[in-house]
Symmetry: C2
Subunit: 180 residues, 2 copies
């Protein structure tokens, strides 16, 4: 079956630093008209980074949409024209102070396909070295570095300090790989 929805008109509502909002008038498969509210997002990367002591590198940060601090794997938005692998290395260095020569691409997924086109590319590394000099974060970005064991991760899921899709994915991925 082909359920494609033809765009009859795009209404641009908002263009911000990070997201754009548009409302499309669409022609439904049954011939009726409807409206779709769509968020355009530049896409993002996330990095599953293991230390030589078998701990997962995490960043703690305040998430304004939730009015809450979360513990997440390092992540960040794609800059225009930047390939995801370059973004991943940059965000790893900026957020954690670690670098690597070996980033392995794992998978990608859309976070909210019902209303947004945000995609996350996920990378893995267990070959970390500390940068001699820490990189600068974005001027409105404040994060705290943590390294956690699997036991810590289970506790942080229980307490809902870990509570976002990419980080829940990362922990499941590591468990499936035999992380203990």
């Amino acid at each position: 079956m082909n359920f494609e929805e033809k765009t009859v008109k795009t209404n641009h509502i908002f263009s911000g630093k990070i997201i754009q909002l548009q409302v499309d008038d669409v022609l439904l498969p049954n011939g009726e008209m409807s409206k779709r509210e769509l968020i355009k997002h530049p896409g993002a990367v996330a990095i599953i980074a293991m230390t030589e002591n078998n701990k997962l590198v995490m960043v703690k940060q305040y998430r304004k949409p939730l009015e809450k601090t979360l513990v997440e794997i390092p992540a960040g938005k794609l800059e225009e024209g930047e390939s995801p692998e370059i973004t991943a290395l940059r965000e790893l260095e900026e957020e954690t102070g670690y670098t690597t020569n070996h980033l392995q691409y794992i998978t990608s997924f859309y976070t909210s396909p019902g209303f947004a086109d945000e995609i996350i590319y996920v990378y893995f590394t267990d070959e970390l070295t500390l940068l001699e000099e820490k990189k600068q974060l974005d001027e409105d970005e404040f994060v705290e570095l943590m390294t956690i064991s699997l036991d810590d991760a289970e506790e942080l899921i229980q307490s809902q300090d870990i509570h976002d899709a990419k980080t829940v994915f990362a922990i499941q991925y590591l468990k499936a790989k035999g992380w203990k």
Copy 2:
């Protein structure tokens, strides 16, 4: 460390059928001001539903933000005042024609904590019975039912027909539970 960002002013930009957009002027931990673009979403449920033949119940649907058809686990938005478990049963019935007396809560996660407050509550059931009469979908909703094996799932991930966070999570969850 406390990285809380105090809201100095909320600017309501858009209020739609599904999402609301606001831009908050915030006071950063370093005393500077910044802006945060925030999407308010009612929240959603997703259901990992296994048939007695050990197949996963999926729905195929067109996702306008991606201009693409995806294969996903059944899911839907919370109605105002509705508890997630009620939503989960309703969406299972509407989208698949199956019902159940036993929905087990698995976990919840935020999909895009950087810009949206959407949360997904995930349920599991392997006790499905077919409804005698199919329920009505929303008037602008068109889905095709599928049941797939683990091999099918792996292929659909490769072909990126399965490509969203909740469905990738579901497949990892089932694999960790021993799905073959």
